[in-house]
Subunit: 384 residues, 2 copies
């Protein structure tokens, strides 16, 4: 595996506990928070080369490399951008990725045990804001004795975390790479989010979120939510090229209500494989955090904060992304500029829709690598 | 109600029965078919002024006017285009609208009683093609002793019926007005259709389609399907203008999983009101007919047929329609032209997305009125 970070293991850290619990933006308190995270590369002696990856709704801490015993052909979800010589160059940068608060992949979330009851939280887990996810990332950094990030980078919900982090904690991040994201969901975005949430909550097996001890989980609803989401992650063009109207495993249609077209088969597979690794409550909590995300709610305060720090922004969109289209990115770049932040905006051509941030499109990777390179040069980090 | 057709009543006709059953394109047989239909205006002595409205998935025979006792402010679904002096001018034309085969608003469909068992058909109703819907429309016309249509007109699935009718029965229609439709669903269209179908079929109350005698119907699934569909009927722009990120009945968010944003409230209302008037099985049958719709499957045969008839085509799209975008319409117009059909293609500017065909946009109504006027002049029908 040339350029791969090789074998990695997920680590865990308790970042809030009874003596120092987590207080959320809403005022709600979570007594204990454990974080699952991975790191790639080495922290330099100046502790100045840390790059934090913020993951999207369905992501996790396993961004790169391969877990011991795993199929080497199935590395972490963003492996193509992390490694020696890759844009997030592990020969130069200390790359960190942590499962978000509310997650279901090692970090405390609604499926975790509530210390107060000894039962899984379920919907008794407090509602989260993107700001709270950032609070937990920062607590992890404190645990790692890292005071400053060279960069925070993320796509979709990940980009929203990088953005909120930069606004709330000016001077803590040299550069925020906000990719395929938005400053706020549109009515259409909220509408898709609402039907996905309804799909889960209308599933009788959802049991008001208390399904963990039951024989059945809300797999039908969660699978359906994922299918809906997936349509919005792909572009019409990529679906046409990938599937067209082709029939699955046959030349002619079978004419019936079962899966017949390839695109149906694909969506079913996506839904099914998702329920095997993801928790329905986490889907609800993170989806709702996106709905309510609104970092420019108080533009005067944002301006005040951005002026006091020196964070630069790289805002990237993809021309085939219709979930968070270039209009979203351009509006975001405009608001950042109006608030005084140094902003580079680029639209990348890619046919993969919203999912484009996961693909190694050369222009995209070059843009990310170039931006990180300039941040590194400004911070006095030796080139790779 | 100036220009209204006034009070109307839905009529019923048995168009196939045991002595002359309906044989579908698939070879399946339906023993008895009753059709619910309405007419507006008068058939002229030459029987040459009939205009047939083909309705979309969720439509019915009640296109215009008001049923006795109904709220005069809630006329039929296409009232704005039908009436004296309106584009479908009832002073000149005899306008017919019939609920489609497979429907649930008076015409035989899966909720009808299967004469063979005395029980509702449910999923034992045979699968339908758009061609079969046309067969039943034609049987109704035969019953009304009408041999030829001045025009067939419809939006979405309605446009598909007008298109299939013109291709299969050359010379039977002077002009087909195919609005916000497509010659075939794209992979993305099929994907949305698939998740809507899954929403219904995954509802435990669906009971394999045999829910008619049960206490509960698959309302959650059908409501969800309608919510998904509705997002694709509106444009992003119209949703932004109509709802933005506004909170329902409040200034500030309530922060929770219940309905909070106006757009969520709107979608819930749409879903809820739909289940009160629509049958889940009909949704499945008509949706699947759209998935499989493919009238140009044999282009040589289409060319042969179109050349033998003299049907003209008006193909209309709306610039904000992303369900059946202008690309669909332009492709359709191109295929019709290649097959030798006289085609007029127009893209209309309207912000209402796919639903634009239901709105009285002046340019749209002028275009329809002008096209019908030319058809009428060619047929020697006196101007209004």
């Amino acid at each position: 595996m040339p350029n791969s970070v090789g074998t990695v293991e997920t680590q865990r850290a308790v970042v809030f506990d009874r003596d120092r619990p987590l207080t959320l933006d809403s005022g709600a308190v979570i007594e204990q928070v454990e974080v699952a995270y991975e790191t790639y590369g080495e922290l330099n002696p100046e502790r100045s080369n840390a790059v934090f990856i913020c993951h999207a709704l369905s992501g996790d801490a396993h961004a790169a490399g391969v877990h011991p015993g795993d199929d080497p052909d199935r590395p972490g979800w963003w492996d193509n951008i992390v490694g020696p010589g890759r844009p997030l160059d592990t020969d130069r940068f200390f790359v960190i990725c942590a499962n978000v608060l509310g997650g279901c992949r090692g970090t405390t979330g609604p499926s975790s045990t509530d210390p107060a009851t000894g039962q899984p939280y379920g919907l008794r887990f407090p509602l989260l804001q993107v700001r709270d996810l950032v609070t937990v990332h920062r607590a992890l950094l404190a645990k790692l004795d890292i005071e400053k990030l060279l960069a925070a980078i993320g796509g979709s919900l990940g980009g929203m975390q990088a953005l909120q982090w930069s606004i709330d904690h000016p001077g803590e991040i040299d550069g925020a790479l906000v990719i395929a994201a938005s400053a706020r969901l549109s009515a259409q975005n909220i509408a898709f989010s609402a039907v996905a949430r309804e799909a889960i909550m209308r599933d009788p097996d959802f049991a008001d979120g208390d399904y963990y001890e039951n024989e059945r989980r809300p797999d039908r609803g969660l699978g359906l939510a994922r299918m809906i989401g997936h349509i919005t992650y792909l572009s019409e063009q990529s679906m046409r090229e990938k599937f067209g109207r082709r029939i699955q495993d046959a030349e002619t249609p079978r004419y019936g209500f079962d899966v017949d077209f390839q695109v149906e088969s694909y969506l079913h597979y996506q839904g099914q494989s998702f329920v095997e690794r993801f928790d329905a409550n986490t889907y609800l909590y993170l989806g709702r955090a996106m709905d309510y995300f609104n970092p420019f709610d108080d533009p005067v305060e944002v301006q005040h904060r951005l002026e006091s720090g020196k964070t630069g922004f790289l805002v990237l969109s993809f021309d085939s992304d219709w979930r968070f289209s270039t209009t979203h990115a351009r509006d975001l770049a405009g608001e950042l500029r109006a608030a005084g932040g140094p902003v580079t905006f680029r639209e990348i051509s890619s046919s993969h829709g919203h999912d484009s941030f996961l693909f190694p499109t050369p222009d995209y990777h070059r843009t990310v690598a170039g931006y990180l390179d300039r941040l590194a040069a400004a911070a006095g980090i030796a080139s790779g």
